[in-house]
C-alpha cells in the first residue's frame, strides 16, 4: 500500500498558483484584438420601452457598436430558455437577452455598447437614451396576490408563478386532537451572492472552423453550453464553454444569463473577441438574489413537547422572471421535515412575481429558510410548555433505530424520500455537552449585571449529492503523470485536491503526479452543475470507480509484461511490482506507453488501447448529512448590537475525505449564515429601486465581527456510495441563521422580545425592544 490520502489533511493542489497571483479568472483572459462590452440597463422597475437613441453613444471615439435587440433580428427574437421547465410553473416568463418592449426590474439589459476599451464602453453606455413609459410596480411581495395588486408583467392576469404543496399524514385530525397548537408568522430575507469575483464573460469566435468559445464565471458550464447551443441554433460540438478559476459561486452563478447570449452573438457578429466584466454595482441588480419569504405556520405538539406536525403557507418572492424553474421554492419545500419524525405535514408555497431582480438559490438554497421555520417552532414549543429546548428536539428527532427512515415526503418521481443514515441525537448531545451545564448560571449572573446573554441551538438535515452524476476520466500519460478530468466546476471548494486524493489512493500514485482539469466542455463531454453540495459525492465516487478501472487494466497488462500472476502484483508510487520482489517491476508510464501502441506491435490480448478509464457513478438516492449548531451571544440593549461569543458546530457528513477542507466549508458556510442573520439586507423602495448597491449600504460579515467557530465531526458513513460520503458545501449555512436568532431570542426573553425575522440590524432590534417595552 502506498501513501494514504483519503481522510488525510492534504494541502490543496489549487493553492500554489492562487497565493502567487497566477490564478486565471475570466477578467485575466486577454485575447488579441479583444473588445469590451458594457450594458445599458433599465433604470425603471417596470416600464414600456419606446425609442432607444444610440446616436450619441455610437459617436464616441473608440465605440465599435451600440446594439439593441432589434439590431440582432431573428438571432435574438426569442426570450431566454427555461432551464428547468416544470408543469407546476403557471407562468414561465423569462426575460429577453436584451429587452424588447417591456422591462420588469431595475438592471434588466436593454442595449449593449462595444468599444475598444472598457472605460469607453461604459462612458458611451451612459449616453444611450431610452424612452420609458412607466407601468405600475409590484414591489411588495406579500401583497402580490391581493385582488387589486399591480401585476409585475403587463398583460398578466395575476402574479402567481407557481403553487407548490407537500402533504403527508392526517393533518386535520392531528391538529384537531393535538394537546397544543401554536402559530407563528416569520419573515425571512437572505440577500445576494456577493462572491468576491463578480460575473464575467469572454466570447471568441473562429469563423474558419465555425467555433465559438465562451469563458464564463459559472458553476454550470454544461448548462450554459446546452442552453446557449439551443438559443444560437448551434451544434454543441462547435461551442466550447469553460469556467476558468472562479472567485466564488454560492448559487447565483449556477444559472444562465442574458450576458452569456449577448456576448456570444457579439463575438459571432463582430468576429473579434469580446469581454464583459460585471462591476460590483451591477452585481446588485444584474445577478440573481435570494430575497424574501413570509411564512404563516402552525405547529402541533404533544404534552411532552414532541412535535407532531406542521402546517402553513409561505409567500415566496420570485422576482421579475423565472430563470431557474421552481428550484428555489421547491428546495424550501423539500427540506421538510428536517430532522423531525413528524406524523403530518401540510405546507403550501406560493411563489410570486415582483418587479425586482429574479431570485434563485444562494448557499443553502431554501434549506436555511426551512430550518428557520422548523427551529423557531421547536423553540416555541419548548417555551410554551416550559421544556428544555434540547429536550423538545431529542423527543422529536428521528431516532437512530429508525434508519433508513421514510419521512413521508415524496421525491419528484413520486418515490418516498428516505434518510439513509445519521446521528441526530449524537450531534445534539455533543453540542450540549460542549456548551456545558453552567450556561444558565452564567446567563443569570450576567442578567444580574444588566447583561443579556443568550444561547441558541438549531439542528438540520441536508440532502446532498444530488442525482444524476458528475463523471471523471483518469488517464496515465507515458511520463507516468496522471490527468484527471471532470465536468464538475469548482469555485473554491478544493475539488481538484479531493478528486486527486481519491485517484492517488485508488490508483497507487503520488498525488503530486496528478493534474486535474475541470469544467471545460472541450475537455470532458458531460457535466451537470456544482450545486446542492453534490460534487464530492458524485464526482468523488466517479473518481473512485475510474481509478479502480485504470488500476485493473494496469495490473492486467503488467501481469503480461512481467509474466506474473495479477493477484501477486501491487502498485506503489506509480510502480507495479511483484509483492515482496520490488525488482520485478514496471512503471505505470511504461504500461501507458505499451498501451499507446506502436506501428506493427499488437496490443496485449484482450486489452483496449490507452491506460485510461471514464466513470459515471450514478447517484440514485440521496445521502443526508446532519448536525446541530449552538451559539452564545450577548445583546447590548442600548445599542442593539449582537456580539457572538462562541459558535459550535457538530456535524456529520459521513466519511471525511479531507477534514481540513470540510472544516473550511463549514466555517465559511456558518459565516455566510451569520451574515444573513445579522447584516445582509437588499433593500428596495416602493417603486422597485434598489437602495443598497455598494458595500457601505449592504453589509457583509467582516473578520472583526466573526466569533471563533469550533467544528467537530461525527462520521456516519452513507451506505449509498462506495466512499460512504455525504456533501458538506452548505451544511454550515443551513442552521446558522436559526441558531443566531434563537440565541438573540433567548437573550431578550426577560424583556419579552420575540424574534421571528431576519436580518436583525441593531436598529431593528432596538425597535423590537421598544415595542416589547410599550406592550408591557
Amino acid at each position: 500500500m502506498g501513501v494514504r490520502y483519503i481522510g488525510a489533511e492534504v494541502k490543496r493542489l489549487e493553492d500554489p498558483k492562487l497565493i502567487t497571483g497566477r490564478g486565471r479568472y475570466v477578467d485575466d483572459i486577454h485575447l488579441p484584438a479583444m473588445l469590451h462590452a458594457a450594458f445599458v440597463r433599465s433604470s425603471h422597475a417596470h416600464a414600456k420601452i419606446g425609442d432607444i437613441d444610440v446616436a450619441a453613444a455610437a459617436a464616441v471615439p473608440g465605440v465599435v457598436a451600440v446594439l439593441t435587440a432589434a439590431d440582432f433580428g431573428p438571432r435574438m427574437a426569442a426570450a431566454m430558455p427555461q432551464p428547468y421547465a416544470a408543469p407546476v410553473i403557471k407562468q414561465s416568463i423569462t426575460q429577453h437577452p436584451l429587452a424588447r418592449e417591456e422591462v420588469c426590474y431595475v438592471g434588466e439589459t436593454i442595449a449593449v455598447v462595444v468599444a475598444e476599451s472598457r472605460p469607453v464602453a461604459e462612458d458611451a453606455a451612459a449616453l444611450v437614451a431610452v424612452d420609458y413609459a412607466p407601468l405600475p410596480v409590484m414591489a411588495e411581495f406579500r401583497k402580490a396576490l391581493d385582488a387589486d395588486a399591480a401585476t409585475a408583467h403587463a398583460g398578466a392576469s395575476d402574479n402567481l408563478m407557481a403553487t407548490l404543496r407537500a402533504q403527508f399524514g392526517d393533518t386535520e385530525a392531528i391538529f384537531a386532537s393535538a394537546p397544543h397548537v401554536f402559530r407563528e408568522t416569520l419573515s425571512q430575507h437572505r440577500g445576494g451572492c456577493h462572491a468576491m469575483e463578480c460575473r464575467g464573460v469572454v466570447a471568441s469566435f473562429d469563423p474558419g472552423p465555425d467555433e465559438l468559445t465562451i469563458w464564463t464565471s459559472t458553476q454550470a458550464p454544461y448548462l450554459v453550453r446546452r442552453l446557449l447551443a439551443g438559443y444560437l441554433g448551434r451544434d454543441e460540438s462547435t461551442l466550447r464553454v469553460a469556467a476558468p478559476d472562479v472567485g466564488g459561486g454560492f448559487g447565483p452563478k449556477a444559472g444562465f444569463y442574458a450576458e452569456e447570449i449577448v456576448l456570444a452573438l457579439l463575438a459571432e457578429r463582430l468576429q473579434r473577441p469580446v469581454k464583459w466584466i460585471e462591476d460590483r454595482r451591477e452585481h446588485f441588480y444584474a445577478t440573481t438574489q435570494q430575497r424574501d419569504q413570509f411564512w404563516d405556520v402552525e405547529v402541533a405538539a404533544a404534552s411532552d413537547g414532541r412535535i407532531l406536525g406542521l402546517r402553513g403557507r409561505c409567500i415566496h418572492d420570485n422576482g421579475a422572471y423565472v430563470p431557474y424553474g421552481v428550484l428555489l421554492p421547491a428546495t424550501s419545500l423539500a427540506a421538510f421535515p428536517g430532522p423531525y419524525a413528524l406524523a403530518c405535514l401540510d405546507i403550501r408555497i406560493d411563489a410570486v412575481f415582483t418587479n425586482m431582480v429574479p431570485n434563485t438559490p444562494v448557499r443553502g438554497a431554501g434549506r436555511p429558510n426551512t430550518a428557520f421555520v422548523l427551529e423557531r417552532m421547536a423553540d416555541r414549543v419548548a417555551r410554551e410548555l416550559k421544556i428544555d429546548r434540547a429536550e423538545v428536539r431529542r423527543r422529536s428527532f428521528v431516532r437512530p433505530d429508525q434508519f433508513p427512515y421514510e419521512t413521508g415526503m415524496k421525491a419528484r418521481d413520486g418515490s418516498p424520500i428516505s434518510y439513509d443514515s445519521g446521528s441526530y441525537h449524537a450531534c445534539l448531545d455533543r453540542v450540549m455537552a460542549k456548551i456545558g451545564t453552567d450556561f444558565v448560571a452564567r446567563q443569570q449572573a450576567a442578567r444580574a449585571e444588566g447583561r443579556y446573554l443568550g444561547l441558541g441551538i438549531a439542528a438540520y438535515v441536508e440532502d446532498t449529492g444530488l442525482a444524476p452524476f458528475e463523471g471523471v476520466s483518469i488517464r496515465v500519460l507515458p511520463s507516468g503523470d496522471v490527468v484527471l478530468r471532470t465536468g464538475a466546476a469548482s469555485q473554491g471548494q478544493g475539488h481538484a485536491t479531493v478528486l486527486a486524493q481519491i485517484c492517488a489512493e485508488g490508483l497507487g500514485v503520488r498525488i503530486e503526479r496528478i493534474k486535474v482539469e475541470a469544467a471545460d466542455t472541450g475537455k470532458f463531454p458531460l457535466g451537470i452543475a456544482t450545486v446542492a453540495s453534490r460534487v464530492a459525492v458524485t464526482a468523488g465516487s466517479s473518481a473512485q470507480l475510474a481509478a479502480e478501472r485504470v488500476r485493473a487494466k494496469a495490473l492486467k497488462v503488467a501481469a503480461d509484461m512481467l509474466e506474473a500472476a495479477e493477484q501477486d502484483l501491487v502498485i506503489e508510487d506509480g510502480i507495479v511490482h511483484v509483492a515482496g520482489v520490488p525488482e520485478m517491476k514496471v512503471t505505470l508510464g511504461e504500461i501507458a506507453r505499451r498501451l499507446a501502441g506502436a506501428p506493427g506491435q499488437p496490443m496485449p490480448a484482450g486489452v483496449e488501447p490507452d491506460l485510461a478509464a471514464t466513470a459515471y457513478f450514478e447517484a440514485r438516492q440521496t445521502p443526508f448529512a446532519n448536525g446541530t449548531n449552538a451559539a452564545e451571544v450577548e445583546v447590548d440593549i442600548e445599542t442593539g448590537e449582537v456580539k457572538i461569543l462562541r459558535y459550535l458546530v457538530v456535524h456529520d457528513c459521513g466519511r471525511l475525505l479531507n477534514p481540513r477542507l470540510v472544516d473550511g466549508q463549514i466555517v465559511g458556510g456558518v459565516v455566510h449564515g451569520i451574515g444573513n442573520a445579522l447584516y445582509e439586507r437588499m433593500v428596495y423602495d416602493e417603486s422597485g429601486q434598489p437602495l443598497t448597491t455598494n458595500y457601505g449600504e449592504y453589509l457583509l460579515p467582516l473578520a472583526t465581527e466573526m466569533p471563533p467557530i469550533e467544528v467537530e465531526h461525527i462520521e456516519t458513513p452513507s451506505p449509498l456510495n462506495p466512499l460512504g460520503i455525504k456533501g458538506a458545501g452548505e451544511g454550515g449555512t443551513i442552521p446558522a441563521i436559526a441558531t443566531i436568532i434563537s440565541a438573540v431570542d433567548d437573550a431578550l426573553a426577560p424583556l419579552n422580545v420575540r424574534i421571528a425575522e431576519y436580518p436583525l440590524s441593531p436598529e431593528r432590534l432596538l425597535d423590537l425592544i421598544d415595542a416589547a417595552a410599550k406592550a408591557g
Binding site: D15, M196, E197, V667, G696
Partner: protein
C-alpha cells in the same frame, strides 16, 4: 476625456515606464497595462480590499489610486511577495498550510495587507489581526483560517528576524 501622461515607477523591483490615461486607476494599470493580473478587483469602491498593493511599503487600495499618482513609487503586488528565487513569503506558506484560501479571489489583497501589517506589528495577536483585515472581505473562508495563517506567519517572521 483621455488625457495621457507618462509615468515611471518600479513594480516588484522592475522599472516600468508607460504612457497612461490620467483616469486609469492603479489596479487597472497593473492588471491590464502591464499584465500583472494577481491584483484583483472586487468592488472598485474601496471596501473589499481585494485590490490592495504595497506602494512604498504601505498597503494601498489600488482601485482608489490613479496610476499617475504612483509615478516615482515602488509598487509591490502579490506577484512580488515571494523572493526572486521563488521562496514563498511566510504568509504565502502559512495560507497554504492553514487552508487560508478557497476561491483565492480575496487572497492577494489579504496577503499584501497582512504583509505590510506584520512588518510593522511583528507581535500582533488575534484581535490585532482581525482588525488589520477588517477592510478585506472574504466570502468563502469565514476568516478563521486566514487569522490562523497570519498568526503562524507572524511567528515565523519573528523567528526569522
Amino acid at each position: 476625456m483621455s488625457e495621457k501622461r507618462r509615468i515611471s515607477l518600479t513594480v516588484n523591483g522592475k522599472a516600468v515606464e508607460r504612457e497612461v490615461e490620467t483616469r486609469t486607476h492603479l489596479a487597472d494599470f497593473l492588471r491590464h497595462e502591464i499584465g500583472l493580473t494577481g491584483t484583483h478587483v472586487g468592488c472598485e469602491h474601496g471596501v473589499c480590499g481585494a485590490c490592495t498593493v504595497l506602494v512604498d511599503g504601505a498597503a494601498v487600495r489600488s482601485c482608489l489610486m490613479l496610476a499617475v499618482q504612483a509615478d516615482g513609487a515602488a509598487v509591490t503586488t502579490v506577484e512580488g511577495l515571494a523572493r526572486p528565487d521563488g521562496t514563498l513569503h511566510p504568509l504565502q506558506t502559512a495560507f497554504w498550510e492553514h487552508h487560508g484560501l478557497q476561491c483565492g479571489f480575496c487572497t492577494p489583497g489579504m496577503l499584501t495587507s497582512l504583509a505590510a501589517y506584520l512588518e510593522a506589528h511583528p507581535n500582533a495577536d488575534e484581535p490585532d489581526i482581525r482588525r488589520a483585515i477588517s477592510g478585506n472581505i472574504c466570502r468563502c473562508t469565514g476568516y478563521q483560517n486566514i487569522v490562523a495563517a497570519a498568526l503562524d506567519a507572524a511567528r515565523v517572521m519573528r523567528e526569522g528576524r
